[in-house]
């Protein structure tokens, strides 16, 4: 475990009469790239603003290393923030924006000049120093915001959905660039997003949040492969979530069949949620001995790399992603291996996710766009 740099202990925050965080605990290690991931309103921005000092928690404490900073005002904290809409100072040019923090600290002019130029070089904005910030594109403004924050030599950089205002192509470029910058400067990044793909591809550690609570903390691979509950399984990637029963250790019953499993410790005959990722399922002829369950294809969508096939198995609709094609109305068999079956304890989210019976393209779009709304809590 890395040396902790930020610790939140039993934090409670109420905003506008609503309890956003309650008994919130989180430890962030020095030099980590941590992502807070969750739907809008889950409290992730509130966590960030608490670390930044813009929200004073009703209860609990914030620690910076060993030192308690709960009551330290924002301007005295060694953390800097990249705001969602960048918050560049419109009356100052690029140079003066980046120099702002150093001027307040009373640094010498030639040191300021050196640092600003270094920063401009790092974010690929050489020669733009005298431009007004109003004349920059979204991506350029983003880079200035990063340069401005890093010029202040923070120990921790907080990023509040910094890429949400950029278009898809630029967003991808900035993702890898941010990761590179983080590795170059070697400081802790705390990144807030609602985009699971962004979270998985950038982070060392992902913190999945919902309703002001941490649902799971882990590496991107962990949270994808070993989701703790139905919420995490559904929020990160696509999943078929089925009711199952843990017959005994390493043996689970799901969809009317018993499967070997890699999980244990749930007790005997315990009700559980079972996650099967769409890409882990193979389709085989119903007659094949490999077929564990059989169903009727209700929809087939070509996605480029693979087909997305919805299969009705006794009323429960499965999603399958496969390079093999099938036709609507075909009766096909589904093959599973113990590796594909992940067992989770029952939670408040059980039964809410994972059935694709209402799935259609429009629904998928609606979900995508609602997820894109700003997280203003």
């Amino acid at each position: 475990m890395l040396k902790p740099i930020i610790t939140l202990k039993d934090i409670a925050v109420t905003l506008g009469g609503e309890q956003v965080l309650k008994n919130f605990n989180l430890t962030i290690g020095d030099g980590e790239f941590v992502t807070l991931l969750g739907p809008s309103g889950c409290g992730k921005t509130t966590v960030l603003r608490t670390i930044g000092g813009f929200i004073t928690p009703d209860a609990g404490d914030v620690f910076f290393g060993e030192q308690k900073i709960t009551d330290v005002p924002p301007h005295k904290r060694a953390v800097n923030t990249i705001f969602q809409k960048y918050a560049l100072f419109p009356h100052l040019n690029v140079y003066e924006n980046i120099a702002f923090g150093m001027r307040i600290k009373g640094k010498k002019e030639d040191e300021i000049r050196r640092t600003v130029n270094e920063m401009l070089h790092m974010v690929n904005l050489d020669g733009m120093a005298r431009r007004g910030v109003g004349s920059l594109s979204g991506g350029q403004q983003q880079r200035v915001a990063i340069a401005r924050a890093l010029a202040n030599e923070p120990k921790v950089l907080l990023l509040d959905e910094p890429l949400s205002a950029l278009d898809l192509k630029l967003r991808k470029d900035m993702q890898s660039e941010l990761k590179k910058i983080q590795q170059a400067v070697g400081i802790t990044f705390v990144f807030v997003t609602h985009d699971q793909e962004e979270a998985l591809s950038m982070s060392d550690t992902v913190v999945v949040m919902d309703k002001g609570q941490i649902q799971q903390i882990g590496t991107p691979i962990d949270v994808y492969n070993e989701p703790k509950n139905a919420f995490v399984a559904d929020f990160i990637g696509e999943s078929n979530i089925l009711d199952g029963t843990m017959v005994e250790d390493y043996l689970v019953e799901v969809a009317g069949q018993r499967f070997k499993s890699l999980d244990s410790g749930f007790g005997t005959m315990a009700p559980v949620d079972v996650v099967i990722r769409p890409e882990d399922i193979d389709i085989v002829p119903t007659a094949s001995s490999a077929a564990h369950v059989a169903g009727v294809v209700t929809s087939v969508t070509f996605k480029g790399v693979h087909y997305e096939i919805i299969v009705d198995v006794d009323g429960f609709k499965w999603m399958i992603q496969t390079t093999d094609s099938a036709k609507v109305g075909d009766r096909i068999g589904l093959a599973l291996t113990p590796d594909d079956i992940h067992v989770m304890a029952r939670s408040e989210y059980s039964g809410k996710f994972g059935d694709y019976s209402s799935f259609s393209e429009e629904m998928g779009m609606a979900r995508l766009s609602s997820g894109k709304e700003a997280d203003d809590a």
């Binding site: 953390v79 100072f89 702002f100 924050a149």
Partner: protein, 270 residues
């Protein structure tokens, strides 16, 4: 149809400007009988008289003094108030906005009369001087305040609220952060508010009339002049004021369009 609209527009502007034009023309009218209908020769006599008139000059001085003092006070007080109101929660903000809007919808004469009652009561209670300069300044600050607040508030609302936080985030304590970041952002609103306060103060008659005691301001002096009915000096005064205002407005307009042009060029540079 088009021509009809043009004629209509032209007539309306004639309606708006003809009286002013008449005033100006007759300020140069050389006549002994002070006839206001016949133009009997060019003279600058009324202008000479105007600038020799001790009372007018004193009234002018008073007006400018009151306008400067009350515009500055109203701007400072109003900007602070706007910043405060902007941060209030919904309900108290509503209350404050209603108080702010009240003097703007209340008939001026009622505002004037009510303040007169207050000042008379105050001099009765605390002794003190009669109504005059100080009551005028208080009254002017009061009726200018809402205009300042209403021109600053929209700028505060337009501002990205993260700006103030960003400055603090970069190590700037709250109060310097306000001056370094928030103030430059809302400056246009503050300046508009100050100009409005200044012109409103210079122009005010009704409220001044009830709160001035024996102190003369220019509008009050104009009022006493109109009561004497025939005095071409008024025409001269009108002309001088009109020319000053025109010059000021043209200046502001030129500056504005220049700034806009620069903005546009900056935008094109992308």
């Amino acid at each position: 149809m088009k021509i009809l609209l043009k004629i209509y527009t032209a007539l309306l502007f004639v309606f708006l400007y003809a009286p002013i034009l008449v005033l100006i023309v007759f300020s140069f009218n050389d006549t002994q009988t002070s006839s206001r209908t016949q133009f009997s020769g060019f003279t600058l006599r009324w202008y000479e008289r105007l600038f020799e008139d001790r009372y007018i000059l004193e009234a002018l001085f008073n007006t400018l003094l009151i306008a400067v003092v009350s515009a500055v006070c109203a701007t400072v007080l109003g900007t602070l108030a706007a910043v405060g109101i902007n941060r209030l929660k919904k309900l108290p903000r509503r209350v404050m906005m209603n108080i702010t809007n009240f003097p703007m919808v209340n008939p001026e004469i009622v505002t004037g009369v009510s303040m007169m009652l207050l000042f008379v009561a105050a001099t009765g209670l605390f002794g003190g001087k009669n109504l005059g300069m100080w009551t005028l300044i208080i009254a002017h600050i009061t009726f200018c305040l809402p205009y300042v607040i209403l021109s600053v508030l929209p700028k505060l609302r337009q501002m990205n609220p993260n700006l103030y936080e960003a400055a603090q985030d970069l190590g700037c304590p709250p109060i310097p952060a306000f001056f370094k970041v928030v103030l430059p952002e809302i400056m246009p609103g503050i300046i508009t508010g100050m100009i409005m306060a200044f012109t409103l103060s210079i122009d005010d008659f009704v409220i001044s009339y009830f709160t001035s005691g024996t102190t003369q301001t220019l509008p009050i002096y104009i009022y006493t002049m109109t009561r004497r009915r025939i005095s071409p000096e008024i025409n001269a005064l009108s002309t001088v004021l009109f020319v000053c205002i025109m010059a000021l407005l043209i200046l502001i307009n030129v500056r504005q369009s220049k700034a806009e042009k620069e903005q546009r060029e900056k935008g094109d540079a992308r």
